[in-house]
Symmetry: D2
Subunit: 339 residues, 4 copies
C-alpha cells in the first residue's frame, strides 16, 4: 500500500501515519518525492484496509498495491487449475460446451434437448431447477422434481449436469443431484452461500456479479477456496452498463485480465449476456476466439414456448451449426499462453 | 405490452404474434401505424414476459407498458405506508435518523457511540453483528455476541436497533434481537432471504443493490410483501458507476422516482455511498433536502481505530453539528407531495 | 410513440394529450387497456419528441416506437453500403485491416511500420497527425508535417491512409491528405464537425462516443449523411463502464445490434478498447469472430519508445501472427447474414 | 508514479524499468517490499504517462500518484477563484441562480420568462441560440437572431446572459453577445474549442462530459486556463449510468471531491440531469444543500409548447417557490470549508 500525503503535509502528519501503521503491525517507509511525501506500507500479510489511513491528517490518497487474494492468485500457483467432471475438463486447453434450456420444464423437454445438444457436440447439460426470478410471480422452477429430471438426463445421455443452487437450505439436495453446482450472478456475494460451497465436494461454477469488479469476483472465489474447495470455475455472463441494445454487455476483456491474475478456469455464457438469439451466435464465436476454458449456451427445441428466456435460446439446428464454427475457431485461437 | 413489428412484416407474421399471445391467454390488438404495425397485448394480469415475443418472426421490438409489481405500487395503494418502530415512524413526513458504527466491536464501543448519537438526536441505533465482507480474511463480525450487545444498547439507551441479516440460517436469531432487520446491498436479489423476510414480524430495511434498476428494487420489495410482511423500508446507498472519486454514486433522483411508483418509505444512507467522511456530510445535507423518510449515518468515537469503514464514519461532534443542519433543512424542504 | 396514461387518468387528461398531439400535427389514437388508457401517436414523420408529452396532466410514461433516424436505417435501404477506398472495400463481406502507430512521430518511424504491416497483410495505414489528448501538456501531434509524412507513406507503400480530424478549421487540410477522415470518440457529438464531414468527398470513419447509445451513434452518422456524404464507416472502440481491468469495455454485442439497424459498415478498434497489448490480441480475434467489416490495430516497431499509447501497440511480429489468425477466423465466421 | 513489479521479477527487469525511466529524464527508486519490488518515479514535472512503462518486462501494474493538472489545482492555488459577471459572483460563498428556457424561441418568450425569473430572484439569464441536438431533424436554434434576443433581454432586465457555443467558427459572435460562454457536455473534450475558449476574455462555463471522470473534467479546464483564461466555472449536469428512471444521474458527490482538488467555482444544473420537472425540484434543493457556487435551472412560461426540453422546464410559479426554499437551504448549509 502506498499512502500519498498532501503537498506541504507536516512532519507530524507523516509521523502520525507511520505510527498508525506500526500500531497495526506494519512497517512504514516514507519516500520523499519532488512535490510531496509518499509512505510505503511493507511487510503486511495480505492486503491492508485503505480505510485505516484514508481519514488521517495530511493523507491525500491511499493506493492499494498488493492484491487481497491469495489462493486464487496465479502468483501463488502458476499452473492452470484443471477442474474435471467425468471426462470433461475445464482448464486444460480444451473448450467444453455446456448446453440446455434455461429451466427444466419436463422430462420430455429435457431429454429431447439433451439428445440434440449431445449430438451437436455438447459435453455437459444445463437446466435450472431452482430459478432466481426478478418477479415473485414468475415461474420459480420445478425444485426437487427438476433435479430428478436432470438425474434422468444424465442417466440416459451420459452427460454430466450443472444446475443452480440459490440458498444454503437447498445446497445438500442440489449437491446430491448435480455434477457441478452453479452460483448465480445475484448470489456472487452471498457469502454464506459461498462458504457452504467451499465445503462441498462438487465443483462450483461461480458466475460474475452484474457489476462485479474482477477483484471482487476473485475474492468471491477465494471464499470458496478458503473453505477447502479448490474446484472453482469462473463464468463471465455480461455486466450491467448504460447500453440498451443488449441485455448485458459481455465483457470479453475480462478473460485475458482474469487469466493473468488467477489459475482458475473461466467459461463464458453468451446467452445471458445477449438476451436475444441473434446476438448469442456472434458472441459465442467471439467467446471461442478470445480464448476461454468452456462455454455455456442455452438451447430449446421450442423456444417460443419456453417458460423463461425463450428469446435467447437457440434452436437445436442453430446450435449444431454454431458448434462447428466455434470448434474451428477454438482450434485456430488455441495454444494460448496467458502469461 | 406493445409489440412493434418490422416495416413490411407480413400478415402471417402479425397473425403469428396474435396467435402466440392468445395461446398464452392474452388479447392481442393490432394497431396499424404509418410505417409499420404494432400489436397491443391487453387483459394481461401482471406483466408479460418480453421473451415470449422477442424471437417471433417479424418482431422488431417488444416494449413493456404495465409495471410488473402490484403490492408495492402506489397505483394499488395511494397512501404512504408508515412503518413504526416504537416511537419512530418512517413514512409519516418525519425524518428519523439512524446512527451508529459500521460494526459492533464491543459493548463499551457501542454504548459510548449510542449515547453520543442519542444526545445528538438520533432515534435508532445501527451496528453490524454479521458483516458481509468482500474478503474472507476481513473481520466478519461478532455474530451472536454482537446481537447481545445491541440488545444491551437498546436496554440502556431506549434506542431501537437495526442490524443486518446475511442468510436464512441466522434469520431467527437476528429477528429475535433486532427491531428492524436489514437486508444488504449484495443480498437484494437473494430471493430465499427475501422470502424469509416476508414471513418475519419485523420491519425490513431493504438496501438497493449496487446496480439495481428501480424496478428490480421494487420487485425485491414485492417478494417480501408477497409473503405477508408489509413493513418494508427502502434504503438508497449509492450505485456503481464509472466514477472513481467516491465509493459509489449516491442516486438522489431515485427518491422522487421511487416515491411516484411506490407507497413505501425510503431512507438514505450517505455513508456507504460516499466512503469518506468529507463527502458524507454534504451528501447527508443533500439527502435531507431531496426529501427522504429517514437517514442512516455511520458514527464512530475513534474512527481511526474502527475495524471497518473508519474513513466514512463521522466523529460524534461532526454528527451533532450535522444533525442540526439536516433537521433544519428537512423542516424547510418538508411538506412533500410526490404525486 | 405510445403515451401511457396513469391509472384512473380522467377523460379530460386523455383529451388534453390528444389535443396536444393534434396541435403539433400528429394523429392520436387512444387505446383502452385493462388497467389504463394508452395513446398511440401516428402519422408522424420521423420521431416525436417525448418531452412534448411527458409533462402533460395524467401522463405516466412516454415510449418512443419509431426510431429517429432515416438515412442510416436498414429499413430505408436494405442492402449493405460498401465504402471503397482504392482497392479496399468496407462492407462487402471482406475484413480489411488498418494498422499503424497511434501518432505519426517521424517519416522513418512511419515507413518502417507501414512496410511491416503491409507485409503482414494490412491494406490501409493509420497514424495521428492531430492528437486529441486529455492533457494540454501531452504531445499534440505533428500537425501538417504529420499529414505530409502520411502522404509519403501512401506514395511509398501504396497503402491508403486514415487520420483524425479534430476540428472544422483543419478539415480542409486533413481532407486533402487523408483517404479516410476519422472523427474521434470525443467528437462523436461535435455536430459542427459532423456537418462539415457531411460536405466532404472523403469517406468518414465515425468512432463511437465513450458512452454513446447505439441510437446516438447512428444519429451522429445521420448528421453526416444528411449533408450528402453517404460514405460513413462506423468504428466501435470500447465504452466506459465501471470496469477497471481494461481501459474501456469493448462492446461486441453492438455489432449484431447495429447491423440490424443500419446498412453502414462497421469496423472494430480493439487497441483503444484494451489499452494493453496482452488484451488487444485476444480481443482482435474476438472481433474477427463476431463478424465485422474491418479492423483497426495499433502497431509500433519500438512501442517502449512510442510518444503515445505504446502499451497498447503490438510489435510487428505479434501483428503478423495475429493477422494470420484473424484472417482464418474471419473465413470461418464469414457469410454473415445479419437480417 | 509507482511501478509495481511482478512477484519474482528478475533484477534485469527491474534495471530495465530504471533505465527506461532515466532515458526519459526521470529518477527511478526501487523499493523492495515483502513480496515484490516496486519502483517509484521521482522528480517528474507533471504526470508521467503510464503507457511508457506498462508494457515493459516484469511490470505488473503502473499506479499514477501525481495528478496531471497544475493550474486548476488547489495545491497550486489554495484560495477559491471567484468569477465575477457584473454584480454576480461565482465562488465567493454565494449561490447565484441562472434561469431561463432551454432554447431562445422568440423575443417575447425570452422577455416574459426573464422578467419572471428575475422577479423570483434569478440573477442571470440562460437560453440557447445554438443548440446541440442528437438529431439533425430537431430544432437547431435561432443562431445569431437568438443572440440578439439575448442582448435585448440583458438590456431590458439588466440580467447578464449565458449561452452555449458549439464551435470555433461561431465563437467570436457568441463571445460578442454573451456574458458567459458555455461549453456543453458533448464538447467537454473538443480540445480545439477549449483552446479557443482559453483565448477569450469571457468567463467560460464548462459542463462536465456525460461520462467524464473528475480528472478529465479538470484537465479540460486546464486546457482553458493554460491558454490564459482563468475565469472557468465548472458545471455538473448529471452523468450517464445504467439508471433508467432519470435522464442522467446527478452526481452530487463530485462537488466535495472537486472542491478538494480545485479552486474553481462549481455550479449545478439539475434540469438536464433530471429530464422531468418533478425531479428537478427536489434535486435543486439537494444541490443547494450539498453546497455549490451557483445553480442553473430551466424555466418556461408554457412548457407544453416549448420547442425543446419542455418536460424538464419549471413553470414560473414553481420556480418562485423553489427559489425561496433553495435560498433558505443555502443559508443553512453555507459556511462550507472544503479543505
Amino acid at each position: 500500500m502506498l499512502i500519498v500525503m498532501k503537498k506541504g503535509a507536516t512532519e507530524e502528519s507523516v509521523q502520525g501515519v507511520v505510527n498508525a501503521a506500526e500500531k497495526r503491525g506494519y512497517t512504514a517507509r516514507p519516500i520523499p518525492g519532488g512535490d510531496r511525501v509518499s509512505i510505503g506500507i511493507l511487510h503486511n500479510k495480505g492486503s491492508v484496509d485503505a480505510g485505516h489511513f484514508l481519514g488521517l491528517s495530511g493523507v491525500k490518497e491511499v493506493i492499494p498495491v498488493t492484491k487481497p487474494y491469495k489462493l486464487v492468485s496465479r502468483e501463488v500457483k502458476n499452473e492452470n487449475t484443471v477442474v474435471r467432471v467425468g471426462n470433461v475438463a475445464f482448464g486444460d486447453g480444451s473448450m467444453p460446451v455446456i448446453a440446455g434450456p434455461c429451466a427444466v420444464e419436463s422430462e420430455e423437454q429435457c431429454l429431447v434437448i439433451a439428445r440434440a445438444v449431445k449430438k451437436a457436440g455438447a459435453v455437459m447439460f444445463r437446466g435450472g431447477a431452482f430459478k432466481p426470478r426478478t418477479s415473485p410471480y414468475s415461474f420459480q422452477g420445478m425444485g426437487k422434481e427438476g433435479l430428478e429430471i436432470l438425474a434422468k438426463v444424465r442417466e440416459e445421455t451420459g452427460l454430466p449436469v450443472v444446475t443452480e443452487v440459490m440458498d444454503v437450505e437447498n445446497f445438500d439436495i442440489v449437491e446430491e443431484y448435480a455434477d457441478v453446482v452453479q452460483i448465480g450472478t445475484r448470489n456472487m456475494q452471498n457469502f454464506s452461500l459461498l462458504k457452504r460451497a467451499g465445503k462441498s465436494g462438487r465443483p462450483v461454477m461461480l458466475k460474475r456479479g452484474m457489476s462485479a469488479l474482477l477483484q471482487e469476483w476473485l475474492m468471491a472465489a477465494e471464499y470458496i477456496m478458503e473453505e477447502g474447495n479448490e474446484q472453482v470455475i469462473l463464468c463471465e455472463r455480461g455486466i450491467r452498463t448504460f447500453v440498451r441494445h443488449s441485455r448485458n454487455t459481455l465483457d470479453l476483456s475480462v478473460v485475458p485480465a482474469a487469466k493473468k491474475e488467477t489459475h482458475l478456469p473461466l467459461v463464458i455464457d453468451p446467452s445471458h449476456a445477449a438476451g436475444v438469439r441473434d446476438q448469442v451466435i456472434p458472441l459465442a464465436r467471439a467467446s471461442a476466439a478470445v480464448g476461454c476454458d468452456g462455454m455455456m449456451i442455452e438451447v430449446h427445441h421450442i423456444p417460443d414456448e419456453a417458460v423463461s428466456d425463450g428469446a435467447q435460446s437457440l434452436y437445436p439446428d442453430q446450435f449444431e451449426k454454431l458448434m462447428q464454427k466455434i470448434n474451428q475457431i477454438h482450434a485456430i485461437s488455441g495454444d494460448l499462453s496467458w502469461e
